[in-house]
Symmetry: C2
Subunit: 481 residues, 2 copies
């Protein structure tokens, strides 16, 4: 029997994936939106049938997050699907007057998606939805702990796609995951888009020459509580947002910046809402356990409940604790709490006034550049406006839970499960990522010389107006009866 090292096995697999997805993309390029939508409907139906099983299976393997929260969130995700499902991206846009094709929607050319160990089922479902809807193949790169479960989802959905006329390898995943294999895939694949969902180390370590690179992530949102805020409501929202699915939602609050004059009230409310303030000894123990600078190597702590976190770190917290809180004065690089923490942990800073708070938020965003979203709770229109205009982030959430609002749940922000992280310096996309970001439009120009332009003569004009008037009068009279 031949023995092949793991890295070479991974490279070999990458080469096979490249060939398969190139073939699939070459045929998908000629599919109509109508045909695609038929396949997509079957895929979405299967997702709706199986998602809770997948979430449970995944939770068994990784122990990350809370099953119920993820199931509830999946229902929101399906509402996004319903919203985008009828949109047309692929094919000709026809001018109604001239019957000419004005532009042509075209699949961007295949997606390689790097999937993190958090919110795995939701990320996989949304990525596949975006890919299929826009006629793109997708090759998923799972975290090593998720390979088996992602395999279950991909195999099932690819089978359905194939049964309904899709090419045989439109939805793929990598089984032997290694950095060497990923580099091979990214370098030689004809796929055009690299969709990195919070696998930050890959952004630094994998060279992505001449690819379109999208980066979305959990991020570490600062939230500012200004003195005019409704403190009771604010704190309730923050704790709910940060404890949901045990702290791994995109844009979940990590840093709470509070004006000095209301800090006692805020802390009291935090306690009322199930926050546990750690002693400095406990804070140290927690960081020794988490080691957040080793993110994605050490995923053991991710998405754990406060109780489990405390137990593993070696201290006790009350049973109904919702978030662990560390109170801090300054930001300094050696403090591990400034790293991105994928768990229900909050860090509270107090500041003399809104101006220094503004500065603090910018520092927190720029310290290790993982934040792409900022939240503010205030009823002072001027302060809100200043925050909106000055912060280096892709989105601002006002008087709402940062995580849900940044996904567009009960907010005006574009509905998406991929919160673009371009302001962190990674990737080319700053806004929320939606299906449209996976197509391009081929523009069509017809010869028009200045003299050819048709101008309606004033006679014709008058005729049009007369006809319009008559029709409107008829309609209005009917309405007034």
């Amino acid at each position: 029997m031949r023995y092949v090292d793991q890295d070479l096995l991974s490279i070999q697999e990458a080469r096979v994936l490249i060939e398969k997805s190139t073939d699939a993309q070459n045929s998908l390029n000629y599919y109509s939106q109508k045909h695609i939508d038929v396949v997509l409907e079957k895929i979405v139906n299967e997702m709706k049938k199986c998602y809770s099983d997948w979430i449970i299976l995944n939770h068994e393997a990784t122990q990350i997050g809370k099953i119920n929260d993820e199931v509830e969130l999946a229902k929101e995700l399906f509402q996004f699907f319903d919203m985008y499902q009828d949109d047309t991206y692929i094919g000709s846009c026809i001018d109604e007057d001239t019957k000419q094709v004005m532009k042509q929607g075209v699949p961007a050319g295949g997606i390689i998606a790097m999937i993190p160990p958090v919110n795995t089922v939701l990320n996989v479902m949304y990525a596949i939805f975006c890919a299929v809807k826009t006629g793109n193949t997708i090759t998923l790169i799972p975290h090593q702990r998720n390979v088996k479960n992602i395999g279950v989802i991909v195999n099932k959905l690819n089978e359905i796609a194939q049964d309904n006329g899709f090419p045989s390898s439109a939805i793929l995943y990598m089984q032997n995951v290694s950095e060497e294999g990923i580099q091979e895939l990214v370098t030689y694949s004809s796929n055009r888009i690299i969709l990195n969902i919070g696998c930050t180390s890959y952004m630094n370590d994998i060279c992505m020459k001449n690819k379109i690179s999208y980066y979305a992530s959990v991020g570490q949102s600062p939230v500012f509580i200004e003195q005019t805020a409704n403190i009771t409501e604010t704190v309730k929202q923050i704790v709910e947002s940060r404890s949901y699915n045990n702290g791994i939602l995109p844009s979940a609050e990590q840093f709470v910046v509070v004006e000095e004059c209301i800090v006692n009230k805020v802390k009291e409310e935090l306690k009322n809402n199930g926050a546990y303030f750690m002693t400095s000894d406990e804070e140290k123990k927690l960081m020794d356990y988490i080691q957040p600078e080793n993110n994605f190597n050490e995923i053991g702590y991710m998405g754990k409940s406060p109780e489990d976190l405390a137990n593993s770190a070696g201290f006790k917290v009350p049973k109904d604790t919702k978030v662990l809180v560390s109170s801090q004065k300054y930001i300094y690089d050696e403090n591990e709490y400034v790293n991105e923490i994928f768990a229900p942990v909050l860090i509270v800073y107090e500041e003399p006034n809104w101006l220094t708070s503004c500065q603090k938020c910018i520092e927190l965003l720029e310290s290790n550049r993982r934040g792409h979203t900022l939240a503010i709770h205030s009823n002072d229109a001027f302060v809100i406006k200043e925050f909106i205009s000055k912060k280096p982030v892709g989105r601002i959430v006002v008087n709402a839970p940062a995580s849900f609002a940044s996904l567009g749940i009960h907010s005006e922000i574009t509905k998406s499960f991929f919160v673009g992280g371009g302001t962190t310096g990674f990737g080319t996309i700053i806004k929320n990522i939606i299906p449209e970001d996976f197509v391009y439009y081929r523009e069509v120009g017809y010869g028009t010389t200045p003299t050819e332009t048709k101008t309606v003569t004033s006679n014709e004009n008058q005729k049009d107006i007369d006809e319009l008037s008559e029709a409107l009068l008829k309609f209005l009279n009917k309405l007034n009866k």
Copy 2:
């Protein structure tokens, strides 16, 4: 006196440029669109005053293109400016009802622009226009032959910007150009966008990690003449488009694919329009002179007239020759005519029918992947539609000169002087590049819970309709009098 090697000098200059442009961007981030527009108007006025001098100066130095053509094209460019000048990109978009900020336009964060030796003055003016309009600093990297002339333009415009309140280094250029210096600039600059205008070798040789990379280029457009085309008009347009400014316009036709049954008529018309068909000996001589695979190292031949080209290559052509033509049967890699040629040279292929022509165009686009635009001349709606739906290009020009139409001159294509080359595999932008591509929008989400949604009661509804009816009736009666 200290002696410093050229590459180190270039790296040193890059570091100074990085510092200057970072400082400038940090202040520009807080400028309002109103303030920007005041500065922009002065800059555009200066451009309108000086452009023909700049073009003449540049022509003296490089001998590329035709002065008159470039001056005429500049006038079109100024029309683009007039069109975009009043648009608002930077600042708050306010919801009229709620008076809340819904999104905030923000400068993308500085531009590094690589400028080719062709159409230099036009490229520089459009790049600076886009940058200033959107509150971005711009650092221009000239071709070595253009350093002095770009210096004249940049110094003048930066002075005006500064006099009108812009930071002191918003418009910069590199004087000691070397690949090492460019790599330093691209790697360590806080500038977010790399705008590469057809400096293709940089796309391969410079590593652009975590930057937003835009690529626009001249490209080498195939044009297909189908048997139902108006041959006289078609050939006139092609020759005009390819000979304009001596063949260096973005998207200018390079390959002419003709249906067999009309090839004699096309060749005859080409001759009538000033085309010179080279002998195979002359074809070889021309390539020996041009050496197109050494592009941008050997710029000597670029934008030269057919007569000058022939003279330098060692053969004679009639004085009024507008394009040199090579008739060819097959595409093969060793044939140097498949390279991007920045001169008034056409290659004619004949094909049995439109289907094989379609295939030929795809091969030409994919052979060395420099083409991003395709033109078709036909009156067969079905064939046109097939071409639009199947070709791997960013834009299709129908029955019009490819160069002008792809810039949006007398066509419906987005008006721009930078024709996005994303379909060549370089850069993330496929469409035409406009000022909007240099800003991002920060979305704002306000808390809205489902119960809060205001629904108009049916009573209120009826009242609205009544009021509307009344107003409309009044208006219509007035109209009909």
